[in-house]
């Protein structure tokens, strides 16, 4: 029983971080039809930038902010140089282009920061006793923070002027353009926001397992899974799916090793695509 409660907590915390990664990915997909293969690598770079800033200043919150801003700027550069020329082409070419970006970013990180694992120290000290475990407060704080950031994104999209621009572009980009919304600018801004979300989640995740230049692919894959399970381009769906999939993986890791527990989320993905390809947590389309 206590195993189940511990794993529930674990799944919720992991789910919140994953939800943050996935919300960036789903935002980019929903608006630009771009499947961003480099999303996990932006996260990885963000974590490295965060670790470096933390090393210099010792201030975790500053590191979080700087990482988000730097990676957002990188996102702008990437979008303008590689993705903008591909608008209007087959969506598959954007997968290939972002895959190329992913290769470059990964090797750049290896070149810049080397193959060793970087640690990000925990910003919130202390832990509390949960049955036989000392559960760190930091993890709880991370989940709450992730929730706040996602909530902020949601409020921005719902009520902010530019958020409304973004949603209008999602719904009908020709009409949005006709109403005077600068659609190309919205594209760039959305890519920047998605990149910043990825970078922030990288810094948040950093203290869990350390930062390596290969951590990106794992996140890309998991974010893809939850984005498809939750319904492509659907923010709420992706968040629910992140928590759902993370919980399932946590429970599965009671029985099998964590490496094998990943298969559970693969199976969820395949079943979703077969029986409900529009996503688990969205109303049935008419």
């Amino acid at each position: 029983m206590d195993q189940i409660i511990i794993q529930t907590l674990h799944g919720l915390v992991n789910g919140m971080v994953l939800a943050m990664v996935a919300s960036g990915l789903t935002l980019i997909f929903g608006i630009m039809d771009i499947v961003n293969f480099a999303h996990g690598d932006l996260l990885m770079l963000g974590a490295f930038v965060g670790a470096s800033v933390l090393g210099v200043t010792g201030n975790y919150w500053l590191a979080l902010l700087v990482a988000a801003v730097v990676i957002a700027a990188l996102g702008v550069v990437l979008q303008v140089t590689t993705l903008r020329p591909l608008i209007g082409r087959d969506p598959l070419t954007t997968i290939l282009a972002t895959f190329g970006i992913s290769l470059v970013l990964q090797k750049y990180a290896l070149w810049q920061w080397g193959p060793t694992v970087r640690r990000i120290s925990e910003p919130v000290p202390g832990d509390f006793t949960l049955f036989h475990l000392q559960y760190p407060w930091y993890r709880i704080a991370t989940a709450v923070l992730a929730g706040l950031i996602i909530g902020g994104l949601w409020l921005f999209l719902k009520y902010g002027k530019y958020g409304i621009w973004i949603r209008a572009t999602t719904q009908d980009r020709v009409m949005a353009q006709a109403m005077g919304i600068p659609v190309p600018l919205v594209y760039t801004a959305v890519f920047a926001i998605g990149s910043a979300m990825a970078a922030a989640s990288g810094v948040l995740f950093g203290p869990f397992a350390g930062v390596t230049q290969t951590m990106g692919f794992d996140f890309t894959l998991r974010a893809f899974i939850v984005v498809v399970v939750g319904g492509m381009g659907n923010l709420g769906g992706s968040i629910l799916a992140s928590i759902f999939v993370s919980l399932l993986e946590s429970y599965a890791s009671i029985v099998v090793s964590p490496a094998q527990a990943v298969i559970v989320s693969f199976v969820v993905l395949v079943l979703t695509m077969l029986f409900r390809p529009t996503g688990l947590f969205v109303p049935t389309p008419k």
Binding site: T82, F217, F266
Partner: protein, 326 residues
């Protein structure tokens, strides 16, 4: 993608066959004149080219991008390993058979599920399936050797009743060349058959193909299986060349490289993927010899790849596409 021109009698493709003959002759001579390192390199290009060509059946002819070809390639390797480790004396024929059966079985499984999905969903599902195989192979240490993989000895090249000899690098190159040329001619024949025409019409316009009355899903399943079989064949060849099977080759990076080969060389040409593989591997070799660059060769290579996607989407041989399919 341009529409097919109306059927008209084909001019005999003399130029094509002359070019084909010249390339094959050059490849036959290559191991005799090249130093050992480049000899091996040429063989590797053929093996990776075969893998990329198998993927071209899907990318170039059916319009489905597979990000999961490492699964078929890897299972080909492990199938060959199984035959060479369990059967004494090791037999070349059985290695091929086991490898093809393993890759084919994986292909049936993947095809059944993945072909129900389209575009990026197909790409993601093939990626996920290949990761499933990767996780299984990586964690099932008792059977697959886990992270360390399996090592074995090379079988003898045997033609029953006629001849049996150990492989030398030169004869192995010729063996690979023979397999690759036969596979190429076979796949070329398939893509020009009525079946291949249906695949191409799926690429051009899937709803219309369905409306004409073709059972699109069935054609897609067969296409994925064919592609998987040839990918498995290249896996067997690679295992034979290197005498090991390792989980790294089931990992997604291999699938990504396969797609890169196709894009660089030119999709929908069958020869393009070979060119792409040669271009990529040569570039990698050259870049990794530069000072300061070494293991970071993927940075310039990735940038070249992105530039090619933007400015040369048809690939190096794209301009020959019409002629290569004549």
């Amino acid at each position: 993608m341009t529409a097919m021109p109306a059927a008209r009698p084909r001019p005999p493709a003399v130029g094509y066959w002359i070019g084909f003959g010249v390339v094959v002759v050059l490849l036959v001579i290559a191991p005799l004149v090249l130093p050992p390192f480049w000899q091996r390199f040429a063989t590797e290009i053929l093996v990776w080219g075969l893998l990329a060509m198998s993927s071209d059946i899907l990318i170039g002819y059916t319009g489905m991008v597979s990000f999961g070809h490492s699964a078929f390639f890897g299972l080909g390797m492990y199938g060959a390993a199984a035959a060479l480790l369990t059967v004494k004396p090791p037999s070349l024929g059985l290695a091929l058979l086991y490898g093809l059966v393993a890759a084919g079985a994986a292909a049936v499984f993947v095809a059944y599920f993945a072909t129900r999905l389209r575009d990026i969903y197909f790409a993601i599902s093939t990626l996920v399936f290949s990761q499933i195989f990767y996780v299984i192979i990586f964690t099932w240490t008792e059977v697959t050797g886990g992270e360390n993989g399996l090592t074995f000895s090379q079988p003898r090249l045997t033609i029953p009743g006629l001849w049996s000899d150990r492989f030398t690098p030169v004869t192995f190159h010729w063996f690979v060349l023979a397999v690759v040329v036969l596979s190429y001619l076979l796949v070329r024949r398939i893509t020009q058959s009525p079946f291949g025409m249906v695949l191409q019409s799926i690429r051009e316009n899937e709803p219309r193909t369905r409306a004409i009355g073709y059972h699109v899903e069935r054609y897609k399943i067969v296409a994925v299986m064919l592609s998987g079989l040839f990918a498995g064949l290249s896996g067997v060849l690679y295992a034979l060349q290197n005498k090991f099977a390792a989980p790294d080759f089931v990992f997604f990076v291999v699938s990504g490289e396969v797609v890169i080969f196709n894009v660089m060389g030119g999709m929908g040409t069958l020869v393009g993927p070979f060119t792409g593989a040669a271009f990529f591997l040569l570039l990698r070799e050259g870049l990794s010899r530069l000072p300061y660059l070494a293991e970071y060769y993927l940075i310039p290579l990735g940038i070249i790849f992105i530039i090619m996607i933007i400015f040369l989407p048809q690939g190096l041989l794209g301009f020959l596409r019409r002629r290569l399919n004549a």
